[in-house]
């Protein structure tokens, strides 16, 4: 359902992506692993054109775009296949929790306001925030903000949800709650691409793991293949440094 | 009415004659800055230390200086002091050189603005800095001098820059008082030609350059000072 071919992106002299390609099937949960600066965040941002790749072809669902001849209209159409959850939540600071969720539905999705509000209320309840619909971002904790962020992405019913290190900015004690919510979303069959540093989470939530290093895909496969049976030196040393230990109780 | 189109030769013609008067403008800016900041230091100190009666008077003073146009202040100072000196001392000061009234008016006006900037900057230094200074054995005066004021100066610098640029622009009003500064001289040089616009053009050019220079100077000072004591 998602097909990426030969994706290249440079910031000045720095070639961040050196021709990346992969594919994702409907309902897949793919995690992108790699050290900071390996290009994984740039890659996920290229998928919805928050970053414009220099070269490459991206296909999501029935929409195919070529980076070298993309138009503004195509960018908007590609974005309408995706939604994104950000590392720093990036809730709209001028809007309350409910409005944060409805904003995209009303303006971007052209859904009537009452319907959008119903959808938003329903989703905010699912992420456990029905008591804070009117709260502004500054009145919410980091964990609460990220819940709104997830509801905001879910509301759009996109073909794929992109998670850019969704728990990296959170306090350790709330990381688990957010990961549980993401897992629940994954179980409902939504296609997801997740950039994360939470190795156990990546191992248990995804059915496909991609390890990226210095702008190239080093290895891809099932969590088992990448985490436990990798023959690649780069993958092994990365996993060793990330303190990943295979814990059977997570693996039923 | 003569030919009214814009004449570049007049622009060049007027320029040196107007440029000659620039020292008048600069003297207003310098005198106002010098005396204005001295007054402002006292006013800010009185307000920070909340010295009774004087504090209230300073509040009124600052409010008046900030809320009334400088041109009104200038004439009020002139006619007011003429009246006071005449009735109290029987001295007629109406014949004194008017430039001194201008200096005084601009110094007072500027001090109203500067006092607030100084006060805000001192309040902007974290209170703990004073505690820390006293804990190492400074008295209040030493703490202000060596710890608080150097940090406050960094905070005040950008706003001071704006204020000086504003003063530079305001100083042009001295011509309404009969001072022959850059603007005041335009009427003279254009009298025979009937072309004022070219004179205004010259003056605008000079002030634009001056403003850029002042801005650059303060930008330079900011850069110099921020790395020495950055407030986070």
């Amino acid at each position: 359902m998602i097909e990426v071919k030969g994706l290249k992106k440079a910031f000045g002299q720095n070639q961040v992506l050196k021709g990346v390609g992969f594919h994702v099937n409907e309902g897949d949960v793919m995690t992108l692993l790699g050290v900071s600066g390996s290009g994984k965040t740039t890659l996920i941002r290229c998928l919805n054109y928050l970053e414009s790749p220099d070269e490459g072809v991206i296909r999501i669902d029935d929409r195919t775009v070529d980076a070298q001849k993309i138009t503004k209209k195509e960018i908007i159409e590609l974005r309408k296949k995706t939604a994104m959850v950000f590392q720093t939540y990036d809730l709209f600071l001028n809007l309350n929790a409910l409005q944060n969720v409805t904003e995209g539905l009303i303006r971007g999705g052209k859904i009537p306001k009452p319907d959008a509000e119903d959808i938003a209320r329903d989703l905010l309840e699912k992420v456990g925030l029905s008591a804070k619909l009117e709260s502004k971002p500054y009145q919410l904790s980091g964990g609460e903000q990220q819940r709104v962020g997830i509801a905001r992405a879910l509301a759009l019913c996109p073909k794929v949800i992109l998670f850019d290190e969704p728990t990296s900015a959170l306090d350790p004690e709330v990381i688990g709650e957010i990961l549980d919510i993401i897992k629940a979303v994954a179980r409902s069959g939504v296609t997801m691409i997740i950039v994360t540093h939470e190795m156990e989470f990546a191992f248990s939530v995804s059915n496909k793991v991609v390890f990226i290093d210095q702008g190239e895909i080093v290895e891809e496969g099932s969590p088992r293949e990448v985490f436990l049976e990798s023959s690649q030196e780069r993958t092994k040393s990365f996993l060793a440094r990330s303190n990943f230990r295979f814990q059977p109780e997570y693996y039923l | 009415m003569g030919e009214k189109y814009f004449r570049w030769d007049y622009v060049l013609d007027y320029f040196p004659k107007l440029f000659e008067k620039l020292p008048v403008t600069l003297s207003i800016v310098l005198m106002a800055t010098l005396f204005g900041s001295i007054i402002a230091v006292f006013v800010a100190f009185i307000r920070l230390e909340r010295i009774p009666v004087l504090n209230q008077l300073c509040v009124v003073f600052v409010s008046f200086m900030r809320s009334t146009p400088i041109i009104v202040q200038m004439f009020l100072l002139f006619f007011g002091s003429v009246m006071i000196f005449n009735t109290l001392f029987g001295i007629n000061i109406i014949t004194y050189n008017k430039i001194w009234f201008v200096y005084a008016a601009y110094a007072l006006n500027l001090s109203g603005f500067m006092a607030e900037i100084f006060r805000g900057a001192i309040l902007g230094v974290p209170k703990k800095q004073m505690d820390a200074a006293i804990s190492v054995g400074h008295n209040r005066r030493q703490a202000y001098l060596h710890i608080i004021i150097p940090q406050a100066a960094v905070i005040a610098l950008p706003t001071l820059g704006y204020t000086i640029v504003a003063l530079l622009q305001d100083s042009t009003l001295a011509f309404t008082f009969g001072i022959i500064d850059v603007i005041g001289a335009i009427n003279g040089v254009s009298a025979s030609t009937g072309h004022k616009l070219e004179g205004y053009f010259d003056a605008a050019f000079m002030f634009a350059i001056l403003a850029i220079l002042v801005e650059k100077l303060f930008g330079f000072l900011e850069k110099k000072t921020t790395h020495q004591s950055r407030i986070t």
């Binding site: 600071l93 | 009334t68 007011g80 622009q169 004022k196």
Partner: protein, 237 residues
């Protein structure tokens, strides 16, 4: 001419000046209004680096920022004096410079100045909105225009409010400079009775008092509005 302060005459000046308060208010309001519109347009052009226009405005703003208010007023006054009749004649309109309300010239000159000044403050405010807010807006399918209108500008505006308030006060005081191009503002109003018998001290005292009351009151009101706005958008700690 007696040297003591004539209190009854002072009251007369006060009345005459106070009657002109609306002139200062509408000149200031109109100038700030136009300044906000054009200031925002200039700020957006510069923030988004619109080709050609952005460098032009960069230069224009740098130069005009330093031009004194009185000079701007005089330039527009002289331009109007020289060309207004010619233009009216050209269009066959029977309306002369003499009949022209000089407050309109003041509004035009002050609008130019406030556009320049406010564009700088709007630019700073727009730049202070974090890039993540654009990303988030685009990620929920907003177009650039929608992102600006519904997300970025509503967040930038409160940041610019304090400067805006200072501008309103500044423009009311600038009315006294408009007096130089024969607009009858508070100052000229208060001086009307004084011109007849040279009792200028009473006239200027009255003018100062009216300006003081108007500006200090307005400052209080604007401070309340400012606080309201500040609480609307707060950075996440």
């Amino acid at each position: 001419m007696s040297t003591v302060f004539d209190f009854d005459f002072f009251i007369e000046c006060l009345k005459s000046g106070a009657a002109r308060i609306p002139v200062n208010l509408y000149v200031a309001a109109a100038s700030v209004f136009f300044g906000m519109i054009f200031g925002l347009i200039i700020a957006l052009i510069r923030v988004f680096r619109v080709p050609v226009l952005s460098p032009i405005f960069r230069w224009l703003v740098t130069i005009l920022k330093g031009v004194p208010v009185i000079l701007m007023l005089l330039v527009f006054y002289v331009l109007a004096a020289d060309y207004f009749n010619l233009i009216m004649e050209y269009f066959g309109i029977d309306y002369t410079f003499r009949q022209l309300n000089k407050a309109i010239i003041a509004i035009i000159a002050l609008s130019v100045l406030s556009s320049i000044g406010l564009s700088e403050s709007f630019r700073g405010a727009l730049a202070s909105v974090k890039k993540g807010q654009y990303d988030a807006a685009y990620s929920v399918w907003l177009t650039k225009r929608q992102a600006l209108v519904y997300v970025i500008i509503p967040q930038a505006f409160p940041i610019a409010v304090p400067t805006l308030c200072n501008y309103i006060i500044g423009m009311i005081k600038a009315g006294a400079l408009a007096a130089m191009i024969s607009v009858v503002d508070i100052m000229n109003g208060a001086l009307i009775p004084a011109n007849a018998n040279y009792r200028y001290l009473e006239g200027y005292t009255a003018a100062a008092l009216i300006y003081w009351v108007v500006c200090a009151t307005l400052e209080k009101v604007l401070n309340i509005a400012e606080k309201r706005f500040a609480s609307k958008v707060r950075e996440v700690a």
